[in-house]
Point group: C2
């Protein structure tokens, strides 16, 4: 019953009308004209709609099964993965030197949103592989790159990231997995890793595990962690597969959602591992690709909100019940469609204004990642590192809200498995947790990123907002977008100022308001996006090009965000300024 309709039109609008990607001075972006991106998105959208989405509920119902150490994925998953593999989608933004397509990251995010919307659990198999590719690409030796990258790019081999252990997730300093140096330069890896997404399956001939472990005698805590490549099957010199390594899946996690993805307990019993990068610098190596990984999780939150909204909207147009208070809307039917009811619309507008604004925010952040890499632009890198915790946390938290709101539109049907709305909620839920919980994102933002480089990046952000407001102030039609943006930005600055004045004296005063501050930041970003969308829409309307109703609906949706969502910054500022007193007052025993 649930479906996925590709968001190609809106992606095209954001990429070209709002962000004007092919006018940006980023190497490779000049090729991203409307025709090209249109063709790519069209093809990617078809796969999302026709190949991935039909397997979303199959994956949820069947889940993964562990049989004698072998993980069985849901029916059809391997065929779908083959479609991605054969179309070159798994190496879409990978280095052409290793068989990738070398596409801009920004475009891969546009593609990724649709694929992840259609089937989040399935897309995590190539997703984690991409993470392993990226770490080896950045830190591996030439030999390691030659050995592993081509097969990871093609997804002939899968990849995983092994961080968590039962006693540690956030605090990786507590890692116990051991890596004992051998005479041949390899290491024997021993320990247990948990929550390893895509840790074991047979959709790829081999699986390349990236594993954090401690070399005995190294420094205590996070400074003594190294990163290792541990292949499931040893790779011979000629590239063919050798014997099975001493790594195995010891169990599958039963969880709330993403049942189609195998969440594995991985046991390393003296498995052969190869050091990647330097000894004791493993954490840095693993986190090199953190910005992309966290943006990817934000994309999952947005993606589930997007598909949840589409389905709720279709339901609201179809379901008839009662009559509108302001008079019958559809006399030809036994009752009016519920989309005519203000409270149903309120829910749909909440979802729509978040999804469309969030999409622009995500792609804007992606262009800055491209700029930081392709132009080696430190300012872009700084801005992106500031914004990434916001992208991850805000898009997942508000994404879950949107998915829950979409489920509510269905009434009782939303609680049944048949309609699929509840799966979007369950799948989306993990995005607030993994890749650093949202609380950790807030801590990263307030405790580190805000003050990094003497606050240079946050000042650059405020300057960017200010310039936009100034540049567009002459257009009176923009006032209803610019004024609320200015007010929200002022709230955000006041919160930052409050942290500066109080956080030094007592860090808990700042950390108590970290999540609220992050959400303020998210609102200001979406406010900025809606102002930019409004500008782009007026430009298109003035030019008389394209779909008039499409652009006008953007203006309405933007006004909704500005009048009803953005003012939340005021409340959040109140909370920030309340400090940590009532939060820290109770003794643990008195809760």
């Amino acid at each position: 019953m649930p479906f996925y309709e590709p968001t190609t039109k809106d992606l095209d609008f954001v990429l070209h009308d709002v962000l004007k990607v092919n006018e940006q001075d980023i190497p490779g972006f000049d090729e991203m004209d409307r025709d090209f991106t249109g063709a790519v998105l069209e093809e990617a959208g078809k796969i999302a709609r026709d190949v991935l989405a039909p397997l979303n509920r199959v994956g949820d119902e069947q889940g993964c099964k562990l049989e004698n150490g072998v993980v069985r994925v849901p029916e059809g998953f391997e065929d779908a993965v083959n479609v991605l593999r054969d179309g070159g989608w798994t190496g879409f933004d990978c280095d052409p030197e290793y068989g990738g397509q070398g596409m801009p990251y920004t475009l891969s995010v546009a593609v990724g949103e649709m694929h992840s919307s259609a089937n989040m659990a399935l897309m995590m198999y190539p997703g984690l592989t991409h993470g392993a590719y990226a770490a080896i690409h950045a830190h591996g030796s030439d030999e390691q790159k030659a050995t592993y990258l081509p097969n990871l790019v093609s997804f002939k081999w899968g990849g995983t990231m092994n961080l968590t252990e039962p006693q540690c997730g956030t605090d990786l300093g507590l890692i116990r997995t051991k890596a004992e140096p051998q005479d041949d330069g390899t290491y024997k890896i021993t320990g247990q890793k948990i929550w390893i997404s895509a840790g074991e399956h047979e959709m790829a001939e081999n699986i390349i595990h990236l594993v954090l472990a401690k070399i005995p005698g190294g420094p205590e805590g996070v400074k003594g962690i190294s990163l290792f490549i541990v292949p499931k099957f040893m790779v011979k010199e000629d590239g063919s597969l050798g014997e099975r390594n001493a790594v195995s899946c010891g169990g599958l996690e039963e969880k709330m959602g993403i049942h189609g993805n195998a969440t594995c307990v991985m046991n390393y019993d003296g498995a052969t591992g190869f050091l990647i990068g330097e000894q004791h610098k493993g954490l840095r190596a693993m986190f090199t690709m953190m910005n992309e990984a966290r943006l990817g999780v934000g994309m999952q939150g947005l993606g589930q909100a997007s598909v949840a909204y589409q389905n709720a909207l279709a339901f609201a147009k179809d379901r008839i019940q009662g009559r509108a208070v302001t008079g019958t809307k559809e006399p030809e039917k036994a009752a009016d469609s519920i989309i005519h009811y203000p409270d149903v619309r309120r829910m749909l507008m909440d979802q729509k204004s978040f999804v469309e604004g969030g999409r622009a925010f995500m792609l804007w952040a992606a262009t800055m990642i491209d700029r930081s890499h392709r132009n080696d632009d430190a300012d872009a890198e700084g801005l992106v590192s500031l914004l990434i915790p916001v992208v991850k946390s805000f898009l997942t938290e508000k994404g879950l809200d949107a998915a829950i709101s979409a489920q509510q539109v269905y009434g009782g049907s939303g609680f049944t498995k048949e309609w699929g709305a509840e799966q979007f909620v369950r799948d989306c839920r993990i995005a607030l947790i993994y890749e650093g919980t949202n609380g950790i994102q807030a801590l990263d933002l307030v405790g580190r990123k805000l003050a990094s480089d003497n606050g240079k990046h946050v000042m650059a952000f405020f300057e960017l907002v200010k310039s936009f407001i100034k540049e567009n102030g002459d257009d009176e039609r923009m006032t209803e977008f610019l004024e609320p943006l200015k007010a929200a930005s002022k709230d955000l600055q006041a919160a930052g100022m409050w942290f500066m004045q109080n956080g030094m004296k007592n860090p808990d005063d700042a950390l108590s308001g970290a999540q609220d501050f992050l959400n303020m930041f998210g609102h200001v970003c979406l406010g900025l996006m809606w102002a930019r969308i409004a500008k782009a829409s007026y430009a298109a309307l003035d030019a008389g090009t394209g779909d008039k109703e499409f652009y006008e609906s953007k203006l309405v949706t933007g006004r909704y965000y500005m009048t009803r969502k953005l003012p939340e910054t005021g409340l959040l500022l109140t909370r920030v300024q309340a400090g940590g007193e009532t939060i820290m007052a109770l003794e643990a025993a008195n809760f």
Copy 2:
């Protein structure tokens, strides 16, 4: 792994320190002294902790199974139901004339919170039976009462409520189930009902279905609906069971949560039914007990939040990870417990301040229901009818928020089934939907209750808040509670005023802000409760009685609510005053 710890201490505090139940001039309340309620809650709490809670995950995992028309409930459910039955808990507040214990409704809500917290799905079997009891008690003939009530009170027989059909939930005017009059005064009931909780099982010897159906030739829409008793087994004159009636379970719904409860498709194939009450007055009869039913759902939301909070708190005290920024808290451990981190505390305080304030609100509303019935007090009835949509919607919406926040405290463990946090979220989710969606509650509040009796009840509510503020203004310690309450109440009044000025011109302007208004109302109610809790705590501290730290923690928690949660009314007022323009502007086709 998940557990339930009875909330007896807090229930005792609310009943006696805050509400002073046995000083209230309500018949029967004088007997509710501390010793008596303490003994009742102690016993009820033991059942919750030792009998119901251990079956909560069993119910979720096993679910219900339909085999040849028979529904198999999870293992242990029948034994647990027998414990409730044998202890007289199923008839706790029922009429002694039919074997009930005649206890105040207020006390039954206190008991019900614990039982529902411990196992929401299981408690719905006696819960729905109680609904059927109440409808027959209010509208049945003497003969019907004598035939059915004693066995419903003892839960020898179960009961159900049959409203929804595939084409109608909210809009019962669309009901198609037919009731054809027979010569012997009975009716032949034909049709399909869906989402019938506890519709079929074998834990009771018989099941008494209350069914809404239309007698052919009656008025159109909701004015032509009648209510029928349709027993699963016919009851002979001597009270023994006769032949099986033509009603059967056609399927079980697969759903997001409450798997332990059988959600049935019920097929009526010319089943024999008995009219209850008058022809065409069925809706009124079914909705007589609406206040209790809706408060019961609010209780479920609060109950799941309460158990979710308990478990999250235990996890936060136990889980060690990292070190506090302000210095090591637990040097004897390898890391500090996460309860020392401001963001974890923020989440716990959100949950705690909601659960404790919400508990007081729920019990306060329950006392007004008792007052309206036992004193035949029309003012109490009016106030309660105004507040019930708030109790239902606010306690479920914020209850779900709290359950999600509790899940977040666990990090990755929150997403696994093992720890149970995710089940509380899934079970809680339905409470926002059934018994009238939260959107319908908001419509009821703003569209009907607010203006009923010329606004008399809402004015009485504001007067009540005002008096409390005035009466306690001399105590300077109360200022930090009274000032925020005054501000929030002012926001709420401003919103009501805005509706009066604009809702007449365009009802959509009021209905667009209905949910926001309801949430403002909820905040003001919890603000009032926290002010009353503060007063009671200061009184106890001044008297030097009881547990000093308990009362002091109440003051801290109340301050948290006042400074960080209550100010949300300002944001909600902004939304209300934004009206319906951006909500109603888009054509359905342009979403």
